[in-house]
Symmetry: C2
Subunit: 339 residues, 2 copies
DNA sequence: ACTGGCACTCAACGTCCCGGAGTGCCAGAA
DNA sequence: TTCTGGCACTCCGGGACGTTGAGTGCCAGT
């Protein structure tokens, strides 16, 4: 049904359209690509491609543009991976050096990805399921506020302020000692279990304070840092074209909603964990992303559930973008593992 | 030179133009505002206002629009503060409750401000110059990486990863003890002084490790948390109008550069610390903000140097925006002080 | 199975024209 | 003096119209 030449034609249409952003006609096609046939033949092929739903007409006498289905075929079967340029490789290597904490790593990564792809980059914080607790600190901030800080072996630091009217420094010290004794070396899951019995140890006088602290610690333990997403390269959205209100605003709004981004990343990574996933236009559930494509990869040592990727117009240079996302995902994974 | 009526006319022009976004003519002016004079009279006044540089013509037969100078006069002498609505007050009160840490406070504040003003809100992290050190923790992450965590009395938690090949747990413990002994209760400035002599205490064998750690701590101490800026409400930029590439992209780009934002906030707050500052269009040094206004206020107990505010088109509802920024700055100040 | 040719379509662009909102100015009224 | 009504003038915006050219679909011929 689709012989090799028709695939070639589709490929040519996609690449031409991506680079020119304008519908591409049969004549220009044969000229710019070494197709050894006449425009008329190409037109026939295009008619078939259109019937199969891979390309469309904006209007009768305009060139063709790929449909989402067309991009899909292109990505799945036609696209050849475009290797990164040497400067890009160097940028990746050098950009990460000197990162001082997790926040810094994420920030640098997402900026780098945005810069390389010239698109909006998003990145979920790394999962730390395998991490164990290294230290827990309780700090009195004022007469009725206490700060809990929890440090894990992966270097993540979680904090939380607690309203704690009438606590005593002495009780805080006891709690600190006991909690550290109990929790150090444990995984978050184990820790949550162990905490359930702890309250019994305290006199009724100290009960309410202890209960608050324990509740606070449990909340921290339940907090998934990978529920945070960082965004960079928003200015690149202006590449979407001049039709502002319609195409850009919904995407901008979605980008400010962590929840939406998490769902997008989650959906995409769930599909084929450990590898690159591409979501094209209508393949996205979220209606704000109907004319937007996602290129997403999981990253992390355990083939983990954290994702990172790029948001851009369906009209996107898929080969380059895919190469960049994959390269960076791998590099960050290694970086997080080795340290 | 400018009698009361002319000021009234300018006021009417500004408010009308802000609400309609279209040049306003003499006839519409007298109709929509209770000016007790004829359009012809208003025209004469407008001619004067134009000669003085407060308003302009887009073209010969169009209405008038305010110049930056006109907005300036409006803000300085004419505008009456528009009090916040009851729902807005309630939103401010309730939005902050339940904030769990500084990050959370900043996030909530900046979102709230964006929501109320329907504009882009920016907020510098609070300064903590008066804070003292409460705890310092050293955590070994792997055989050659150590995490330093520094907690201050204001509840800020700073962290930093260190490459530290061949450290021993024992040395880490000694360092931890000594550092805490030395630093707890000190201000960052004092702490930096005290650290200078510490290195002497360690044997040559441990020197390099100790030096690295001390250097790391110094770096943390030198890190000013108020050098971070949080942004919210970027989608509101689409209100700028449909001319995308020209007006929005530069602002978007600037919003991703912490440095630029810091300079903007710094410039504005330096001018009249402790109160509201408005920068209109060309009054901004940064050329990306030539058609943008800033409404900024300092906030914090010590009339501190941290700023928060709103970025929007010069065509902006100044009275409302100013009221909102001031209200939120005051509220956050109180919230940070009381806890 | 491909090609050249031909009639057809239709967005984009330029031109022309007109209506209307708005101005500036002036002579007369308050 | 200060305001007003009147009037000629300007010029943007939008609709109508014709032209252009890229592109298509189809068919007969190789």
């Amino acid at each position: 049904m689709l012989d090799d030449r028709k695939l070639d034609v589709l490929k040519a249409i996609v690449t031409d359209y991506v680079s020119s952003k304008e519908p591409v006609g049969s004549k220009a096609l044969v000229e710019r690509h070494g197709l050894r046939v006449s425009p008329a033949t190409v037109r026939n092929d295009m008619a078939v491609l259109e019937e199969e739903g891979y390309i469309t007409h904006p209007h009768t006498s305009a060139g063709r543009i790929p449909t989402d289905k067309g991009y899909r075929l292109f990505v799945d079967r036609i696209a050849t991976v475009k290797p990164l340029s040497a400067p890009e490789r160097r940028a990746i290597m050098s950009f990460m050096n000197g990162a001082v904490d997790i926040d810094d790593i994420v920030t640098r990564t997402v900026r780098l990805l945005a810069q390389i792809t010239h698109q909006v980059a998003i990145m979920q914080y790394p999962v730390v399921s395998s991490a164990s607790i290294r230290h827990l600190e309780l700090v009195g901030l004022s007469t009725d506020r206490v700060l809990i800080v929890l440090i894990t072996s992966s270097g993540s630091v979680e904090q939380r302020t607690l309203e704690l009217p009438g606590y005593t420094e002495e009780l805080l010290m006891r709690l600190r000692g006991r909690l550290n004794q109990l929790l150090i070396g444990r995984t978050p899951a184990e820790a949550a279990d162990l905490l359930s019995g702890l309250l019994e140890e305290f006199e009724s006088m100290d009960r309410s304070t202890a209960a608050s602290v324990i509740a606070g610690v449990l909340e921290i333990l339940a907090t998934d840092p990978s529920a945070r997403v960082m965004v960079a390269g928003v200015p690149n959205l202006t590449r979407y074209g001049p039709n502002l209100q319609t195409s850009i605003q919904p995407v901008l709004e979605a980008l400010e909603e962590q929840v939406v981004l998490l769902r997008l990343l989650g959906d995409a990574t769930a599909e084929s964990p450990g590898d690159l996933t591409v979501r094209i236009g209508s393949e996205n559930a979220d209606e704000n992303f109907q004319s937007t494509s996602l290129v997403v990869s999981t990253y992390g040592d355990d083939g983990g559930r954290s994702g990172l990727g790029v948001v851009g117009p369906t009209l996107m240079d898929y080969p380059s973008t895919m190469a960049a996302v994959r390269a960076i995902a791998r590099y960050v994974g290694r970086f997080l593992a080795e340290g």
